[in-house]
Symmetry: C2
Subunit: 135 residues, 2 copies
């Protein structure tokens, strides 16, 4: 059985991909991969996702420079979710300039923003184009 | 704006839900929540998912006893993924008897099982019914 056979792609040919900082253990983001994205990630040693919103491969950090170098790649028991333990270049995964996309915590009936912006998105992205959220 | 308005349910009314052990930092599993599952999770303080395979709410640990007590609940920038930092009762999240569902690591072209089985699934589940993987 090849490694591809263990993966259960959904009806859109995707699996969920969770990126976790290999050093801090912080969960950085959830994105999606199709087979091409996963193969590119393995080949290039960096996180390559499938951007559903843009309908194309998304080499994380292609515009921001916030590349995710893959330290380890894991598959879950169902074969429909991937865990990437990554080195997050720049220490910023989120297009808002924060370390993690999970910067809002549920508190007393609302989502409270807890994490600080480490870098102004306007400085991360040029005016004419923005990686923004790949999703 | 209510907290519900920040959530972007997909075409099936679901969001991805990542459970992370609040102590070890280990990513335990990825599952799904619809609005009812999320509201039940908030109300009950334990992880309640939507089982796509069984088409019903899945109170994690309902048969195994491996309940996930919610310490913190976070939402990502897109509003389509939830992060649960949990206390994993029994120290086992996976229906295979392992701590995490992500027990296979990509190594030299194959998925190598790295994590030990902490408890025999036959001991966790009765013969006639099994929570198994909720997905």
């Amino acid at each position: 059985m090849s490694w591809q056979d263990a993966i259960k792609w959904d009806q859109d040919g995707l699996v969920a991909a969770v990126a976790q900082d290999a050093v801090s253990g912080r969960v950085l983001m959830v994105a999606w991969m199709n087979q091409t994205a996963l193969e590119a990630s393995l080949l290039e040693g960096r996180a390559v996702y499938w951007s559903r919103s843009r309908g194309r491969l998304w080499r994380k950090g292609e515009e921001s420079g916030h590349v995710q170098r893959i330290r380890e790649l894991r598959l879950d028991c169902d074969g429909d979710a991937i865990l990437l333990r990554v080195e997050q270049l720049g220490g910023i995964a989120c297009h808002t300039g924060r370390e993690s996309c999970f910067y809002r915590v549920f508190d007393a009936g609302e989502w409270r923003e807890t994490d600080e912006v480490l870098r102004d998105p306007a400085q991360i992205y040029s005016a004419s184009k923005g990686e923004k959220s790949g999703e």
